[in-house]
Amino acid sequence: MARAEFILEPLTCPTCVKKIESTLAKAKGVESAKVLFNSNKVKTEFDEAITNSEKLKLTIENLGYSVLSSKES
């Protein structure tokens, strides 16, 4: 189990939260995804055998949110 945290451009609509969370949750290998609306962060847990933080970053960007930085742990 690996964890990654992404910092996004400022989020403005609470619906974005649902959008990002449900999309990530549906992605293969993702165990959990949580969007922190007020700190513009996405916290994810995933199986590193199936996916990686680069892929997750791409998924978020494809939704239309630019990722400013990411951190793995």
Partner: protein, 624 residues
């Protein structure tokens, strides 16, 4: 390409506004025929970023407000309403821009905190001075901090001394003096001096990082109202689309149906409650009060009864031995040495006070302790130097069948009436001495309690394990409504439970592990953070980082203000929805004006919440 467009959103908004203005100006200059061209161009360039977001969402099977706007605008173009279409797209983009700007402001308290985190650290490795990024500091590193520098990690001072501004942790801006063996925290600033520390906690483990994380999580955790509104929005938005279709089928009026789509977006309703919370929690964090989430805010505002622990909460929690009365044939120092040696195995603060006193007098506390036994809430028993010692309160003496003569008893009561805790020390079944320990009332207690009462607390009760006389003295001094003395931790829990059953909303304020059960039982558990011990920070609902009771009264007033603010926002948002719907159905509100009211209402709720950032409880001290 898409990134490019997103980056230039603000430019697009500006261009669209210029086109709209020129579109309206052209007819007056005699170019009537260019008006539509200008407005259509404005619509098209402004709809591009909106449509892209809508499309990206659809691809991920998500429903978005951008989709509603895109449909509405395409519809408006179809029925040749170019003015409306251009104004709607412009307002949407401009509104989003303003929202982002103002939301950033409401989140600024947290950002200000995060910005306090240092970036670099000066370390000494193998005799070499290095400047490295703060992420690379590891446990055990020797870190140097000079005057004006920020602490990069949590650690213990090994040389030097300094005055340190701990506002980042405690909200208290008056510098504290620290010297060798003191703990310093990441994010605090050396006001004056020079220190070298050994790193003990680094990265995400530092107290500062934990505070940030707790605040972040608190801002996300939702109140009941918020959860309800989220659910409401979830059904509301699709329902609006269906309603719009029904309106179209019934009236065959595409214009009306499209207007309906745009104005019914639940913007202010969804954002109103969360922004109040974020601003409120942020304000608390800046003042050294961690309020863990919207739910806690809500409950805290309803509290009418406060239960205080005495020691460490109403008093400073730093007791001192004020007197040792000797009834034995031993030297006073010898008596202290024996008692302190037994107390070295005690974790009770009174026991530790005696140990501290012995250490202060340079007494040797080495040696074997046999059959040491802590009698919870009563004292301690052990054998040393072939003597049997029992140290504790009256209950312990009774339990051990140790006679307390009238002389001893009178003396003890006299000490207690003067505000001391009297500790009996018995050697081989005889009372050998009485240790008097006092703990002073916190300086801000009077003012904080007065303010809490003014803000609506009906009942204040003190519970303590301490003796009745000391308790009475403190309770009278502070004008409390009630006190209970000589309680065990489980008695405190029962008492809190009874209060809750009687219908009170109870907050319990305590400082240590012994209060943890009662803190957990109360509606609101409040812990004195003492610079942030992990246990208290994690179990309590509210943490006072600087151990100041004034922070409690600030938190209470803040909770009331936040909940009031949230109610205002919700009420306003619901009213706007009704006004808009009524306006649309009675043909007073059209597409552009509907969008304007919609965006304006969002901004109004955000601006209303921003008032909380600057919220100050009345008469609060300048450093709060």
């Amino acid at each position: 390409m898409i990134k490019h467009i997103n980056k230039h959103r603000n430019h697009i908004t500006a261009i669209s506004s210029i086109l709209i203005v020129s579109g309206f100006a052209l007819p007056f200059l005699g170019y009537e025929s260019y008006k539509d061209t200008a407005l259509i161009t404005a619509t098209i360039i402004a709809i591009i970023p909106i449509a892209i977001k809508a499309f990206q969402a659809i691809r991920m099977k998500a429903f978005s407000i951008e989709l509603l706007v895109t449909i509405a605008v395409i519809g408006a173009l179809y029925i040749h309403e170019y003015t409306e279409s251009s104004v709607v797209t412009f307002l949407f983009l401009f509104g989003a821009y303003l929202e982002a700007r103002t939301l950033e402001k409401t989140r600024s308290s947290l950002k200000a905190l995060i910005d306090m985190a240092p970036q670099e650290a000066d370390v000494i490795r193998e005799g070499e001075n290095l400047t490295i990024p703060v992420e690379e500091v590891v446990k055990g590193d020797r870190v140097v901090i000079r005057s004006g520098g920020k602490m990069p990690v949590d650690g213990r001072i090994i040389s030097g001394k300094a005055t340190i501004n701990e506002a980042a942790i405690t909200g208290e801006s008056r510098p504290a003096s620290k010297a060798v063996d003191d703990i310093v925290y990441s994010g605090t600033i050396v006001d004056n001096g020079y220190i070298e520390i050994i790193a003990e906690k680094v990265g995400d483990d530092t107290t500062f990082a934990k505070i940030i994380e707790l605040v972040e999580e608190a801002q996300e955790s939702k109140s009941k109202t918020q959860k309800f509104l989220d659910k409401f929005a979830q059904y509301y938005t699709p329902a609006v689309v269906i309603l719009a279709i029904i309106v179209y089928i019934l009236t065959r009026n595409l214009h009306l149906a499209i207007t309906f789509l745009v104005v019914a977006c639940p913007g202010a309703l969804v954002i109103g409650a969360p922004v109040s919370n974020v601003a409120g929690i942020g304000n608390g964090a800046r003042h050294g009060v961690l309020v863990k989430g919207g739910e806690v805010m809500d409950r805290l505002s309803k509290v009418d009864t406060i239960v205080f622990d005495k020691t460490g909460t109403l008093t400073k929690g730093m007791p001192e031995v004020t007197d040792i009365k000797n009834f034995s044939g031993l030297e006073v120092e010898e008596l202290l040495r024996l008692v302190a040696k037994v107390e070295t195995i005690s974790e009770h603060h009174l026991g530790q006070t005696i140990v501290k006193e012995a250490k202060k007098r340079n007494l040797n506390l080495e040696g074997e302790i046999i059959n040491g036994k802590v009698v919870k809430g009563n004292g301690i028993k052990a054998e040393i130097d072939s003597l049997v010692l029992a140290i504790g309160n009256r209950k312990l003496m009774d339990a051990e069948n140790i006679q307390i003569s009238d002389e001893v008893s009178d003396y003890a009561i006299g000490r207690e009436k003067a505000g001391n805790t009297a500790i009996f020390a018995a050697i081989d079944g005889q009372v050998a001495g009485i240790f008097s320990i006092t703990d002073q009332i916190r300086e801000d207690a009077h003012r904080a309690l007065a303010e809490l009462r003014k803000n609506g607390i009906k009942k204040m009760i003190m519970l303590t394990g301490d003796n009745r006389h000391t308790a009475e003295l403190v309770a009278n001094e502070l004008g409390l409504d009630e006190f209970q003395a000589e309680l065990l931790p489980e008695n405190k829990v029962e008492f809190v439970k009874k209060l809750k059953e009687a219908g009170h909303v109870v907050a319990m304020a305590g400082d240590g592990i012994n209060d943890a059960p009662a803190i957990a039982t109360a509606d609101i558990g409040l812990a004195m953070g003492e610079g942030g011990t992990d246990v208290s920070m994690e179990t309590a609902d509210v943490v006072l980082m600087a151990d100041k009771l004034m922070q409690f009264s600030h938190a209470y007033a803040l909770a009331k203000a936040t909940v009031r603010n949230m109610k205002q926002n919700t009420f306003f948002a619901v009213a706007v929805v009704f006004v808009l719907l009524a306006g649309v159905l009675s043909d007073y509100v059209h597409l552009a004006s509907g969008m304007f009211i919609h965006e304006a209402s969002i901004l109004i709720v955000i601006l209303n919440a921003m008032r909380l950032i600057r919220f100050k409880s009345t008469n609060s001290s300048p450093n709060l």
